[in-house]
């Protein structure tokens, strides 16, 4: 009976739950799903992390290469993010070139990176206009169940913290790079932005950390990125409207989540034994 109701009238099915301030998976409206984080599990990557937020799972692998910096920004290194949603991750994803969801997520992460919200790109530079690191950050979704951006940002930050690269220095006289494979280093000053996604329903109901099903049914979505207690990015791609009181309420929820995620990342990335350089 319940399954029939759900298939035929999914929105009504959901609204009966929401009216009673609960959700089909047993969460209250503003509750987040359980998050787990594992750093450094991919040996072939220079830095890696696996994040699970409820059923959504993301693997982030970072490969580093040395290149000459871009001509118009000689003092900056590059971080190239790429979100992939292979057809393995959900039955709703078709194989072929990346779809709109994947491209929009890539664009979202790229904006965070280019605005120095993740880290200061100048730290990646080894020698002005000669050599800098380029970090290819591939975010592979292996199970898609809503709140993709939350998991992506978390995986990216954890993988960057897990990064371990050979120490490379530039020799002025010889005009070449000297590297020592034995010595490993990470990067200082990786910030800890945390994205929290919320779904909005027509009658002003807000829910945290929506699942894929909830995202499909909802009238709108909003992603708030915070670092500590300050808002760094507010992404609301259309959908139904939101007043200021609601925004304030969501900010408080995001702050709670931010604290939890920061703790999780610190726990997962601390015992690496890799000394970050200045």
């Amino acid at each position: 009976m319940a399954t029939d109701h759900k298939t035929l009238q999914p929105l009504e099915f959901y609204k009966t739950f929401l009216d009673r301030k609960t959700r089909p998976d047993g969460r209250s409206l503003l509750e987040f799903r359980r998050m787990t984080l594992n750093a450094g599990s991919i040996g072939t990557a220079d830095g890696s992390a696996i994040v699970k937020c409820g059923n959504t799972a993301i693997i982030c692998g970072i490969k580093a290469e040395l290149v000459a910096p871009e001509r118009d920004e000689p003092q900056k290194g590059l971080i190239i993010p790429n979100v992939t949603l292979p057809s393995l991750c959900s039955s709703h994803i078709k194989s072929g070139p990346p779809g709109e969801t994947a491209q929009a997520a890539t664009q979202f992460i790229a904006e965070l990176v280019n605005n120095n919200i993740i880290m200061d790109l100048e730290t990646l530079c080894i020698k002005n206009s000669k050599w800098s690191w380029v970090l290819y950050c591939d975010l592979l979704c292996i199970n898609l169940d809503g709140s993709l951006l939350d998991a992506c940002v978390m995986a990216l930050v954890a993988a960057l913290k897990n990064l371990s690269l050979p120490v490379v220095s530039y020799d002025e006289e010889m005009d070449k790079l000297i590297s020592n494979i034995e010595d490993k280093m990470g990067f200082h000053g990786i910030k800890q932005p945390v994205t929290s996604t919320f779904s909005l329903f027509e009658n002003g109901i807000l829910i945290s950390d929506p699942t894929f099903e909830e995202e499909q049914l909802a009238a709108g979505v909003i992603s708030i990125t915070m670092e500590g207690t300050s808002v760094t990015h507010l992404y609301k791609p259309g959908g139904c409207t939101l007043n200021e009181k609601q925004v304030k309420k969501l900010m408080q929820q995001s702050e709670l989540k931010t604290k939890e995620v920061v703790k999780l990342i610190e726990e997962a990335c601390s015992p690496m034994g890799v000394e970050p350089i200045d």
Binding site: I42, S48, I62, L88, N143, D145
Partner: protein, 246 residues
């Protein structure tokens, strides 16, 4: 790297294994909620994910539908960070397409496709970390995912590689041995009937060695099959008890 270094005077391989020793196999089933069946498999440092969707109606062009059996659609993909060098294209290159075709052929032989005419079964595999024997790990992982999905099989499929160094056959080749220039024989079998469903050889060796190397590979397949069988049984009993409890 010459053959001498791949096998020490004491008869040990570069990673310390004996010639007939497999790498450690770890596998877990039913790890995803979205897929109908899924599995994660580690064979030494090779780590592979597999997901199965289906049987469902044909997606995309209807012309792919077969009137008497199910259409098997496989996609082999390698994560960009899975190898020493960054891979530019995770899927769609020539090697991946070839792998996908081989997987389709292998599983068409094992799945009872005649039960699902005009439908489609999707098998997606993703190599997360590559350390030799990618194809075999993919076959084994995909098979476990099929079992998890409950797709009817004629027989399980297991796959293993073998090589030949200093006239000694080696089982379950890793990346160093594979790229060290030694030949690699990949075999997939149906262990109960002992039928070979897939076999390929890179590099050359004298035909006299073939039976020896092939036997090693088949022995490896059967050993892997036994290990996977245990894991399968463990998973199914756990499922059974949890079903009874509820």
């Amino acid at each position: 790297m010459s053959g001498n270094e791949l096998l020490s005077d004491q008869g040990l391989r570069i990673d310390g294994r004996k010639p007939n020793e497999l790498r450690r196999i770890r596998c877990s089933l039913g790890i995803f909620s979205q897929a109908d069946g899924s599995a994660y498999l580690e064979q030494g440092n090779t780590k592979v994910l597999a997901a199965v969707y289906g049987p469902h109606e044909i997606r995309g062009s209807k012309s792919k539908a077969l009137h008497d059996k199910a259409f098997i659609n496989c996609q082999f993909s390698t994560a960009t960070f899975s190898m020493g060098e960054r891979k530019r294209r995770p899927r769609g290159d020539r090697k991946s397409t070839e792998m996908s075709t081989h997987l389709e052929e292998t599983f068409s032989a094992a799945i009872r496709t005649e039960l699902y005419p005009r439908s489609q079964i999707d098998i997606f595999v993703e190599v997360l970390q590559a350390d030799g024997g990618n194809y075999t790990a993919c076959v084994n992982a995909a098979m476990m995912a099929l079992v998890d999905a409950g797709v009817p099989l004629k027989d399980t499929v297991v796959s293993c590689t073998a090589s030949l160094v200093k006239d000694v056959p080696l089982v379950d080749v890793n990346h160093v041995e594979q790229s060290g220039g030694s030949p690699e024989l990949v075999v997939s079998i149906l262990p109960n009937s002992g039928e070979i469903v897939y076999m390929s050889l890179t590099q050359r060796f004298h035909i006299d060695h073939l039976s020896k190397v092939l036997d090693t590979a088949i022995k490896g397949c059967k050993d892997i099959g036994a290990i996977l069988n245990e894991i399968m049984k463990g998973h199914l009993t756990k499922l059974d008890t949890s079903l009874q409890a509820s």
